[in-house]
């Protein structure tokens, strides 16, 4: 996406979307989780929105802001959890950018989100396999991947609806 909009305007979008990530991270952090590793990933919503509004480097900047915000909120910046978050988010961010570039509008945010979540969760499982649990990591794989898929599909659906109806998204899209 070649944009004619001044960089400062596009950075404003990065800042707003990054702030949304931070806010949604705090919501996610508040919600009780029955099992610690199961997350719904609502903080990824702004990243799905960002795919259509920003160039790949700036989308990755939003991803970086999300990772930083989550780490600050949960206090895991200097723990191994941060590594999981960083690697997982990078995997999903890169794969979603790639899918958007390859398929353009032929694949909706549902498909992109589901595949992005799958990429993130797979990479995290592989990390868990080698860093923490050993072979036992595969035992948590099925529920981990399945729930990630369901929540990503719901989030993707929501993001798609949001992109269709939001005036802010439309204005930003027209602006380029």
């Amino acid at each position: 996406m070649k944009s004619t909009t001044p960089l400062s305007r596009r950075l404003d979008r990065v800042a707003l979307l990054g702030a949304c990530c931070l806010f949604l991270s705090s919501i996610e952090y508040i919600l009780p989780k029955p099992i610690p590793f199961l997350r719904i990933g609502i903080a990824n919503l702004p990243i799905l929105i960002a795919l259509d509004l920003l160039s790949p480097p700036l989308v990755l900047l939003v991803v970086a802001l999300k990772v930083a915000g989550q780490a600050l909120l949960s206090g895991t910046l200097f723990s191994y959890v941060f590594l999981f978050s960083l690697v997982g988010s990078a995997a999903s961010g890169l794969s979603m950018i790639l899918l958007r570039t390859l398929f353009a509008k032929r694949m909706s945010l549902v498909g992109i989100g589901v595949l992005g979540a799958f990429a993130s969760n797979s990479v995290q499982l592989i990390l868990a396999r080698f860093l923490i649990f050993g072979e036992g990591a595969w035992l948590i794989a099925p529920p981990f991947l399945a729930l990630g898929t369901v929540s990503a599909a719901v989030l993707g659906f929501f993001a798609e609806r949001f992109s269709e109806t939001s005036r802010w998204v439309r204005a930003a899209r027209e602006e380029g």
Partner: protein
């Protein structure tokens, strides 16, 4: 919003992958845990879900190990203090029982995860 073919393909691919992982992880999981009995440099491996009694020859006599109901325990050993018998049943990977005087070592090997108290990503 329209459901498009690539979306359906993406969902099917992911579902298939999860199905494949589930199948690999959960089928044959019960026999992935095994009982290793070591004595005098020799090792015997039995599936944990077997029902059998194994006798092992050691330097001072015969140690009897019973494998059954998801665990293994030393039933008898020619040692003076019978500590190994009192160690009871071992069932989870990493657990072990041993008769030191008779040099018989029983441990559970397998791929059941460690029990983690809490973690968050």
């Amino acid at each position: 919003m329209k459901v498009r073919i690539p979306d359906v393909i993406a969902l099917m691919l992911v579902t298939a992958a999860i199905g494949a992982v589930s199948f690999r992880v959960y089928s044959g999981n019960s026999d992935s845990a095994e009982v290793r009995i070591e004595s005098g440099g020799r090792t015997w491996i039995y599936p944990l879900d077997a029902q059998r009694t194994v006798t092992v020859d050691g330097p001072i006599g015969v140690t009897v190990v019973r494998i059954g109901s998801g665990g293994a325990r030393i039933m008898d050993s020619p040692c003076p203090d019978k500590l190994c018998v009192h160690m009871g049943s071992v069932s989870r990977p990493g657990q072990w029982a041993a008769c030191m005087p008779n040099r018989v070592f029983v441990r559970i090997d397998g791929s059941v995860p460690h029990e983690v108290d809490d973690t968050s990503f």
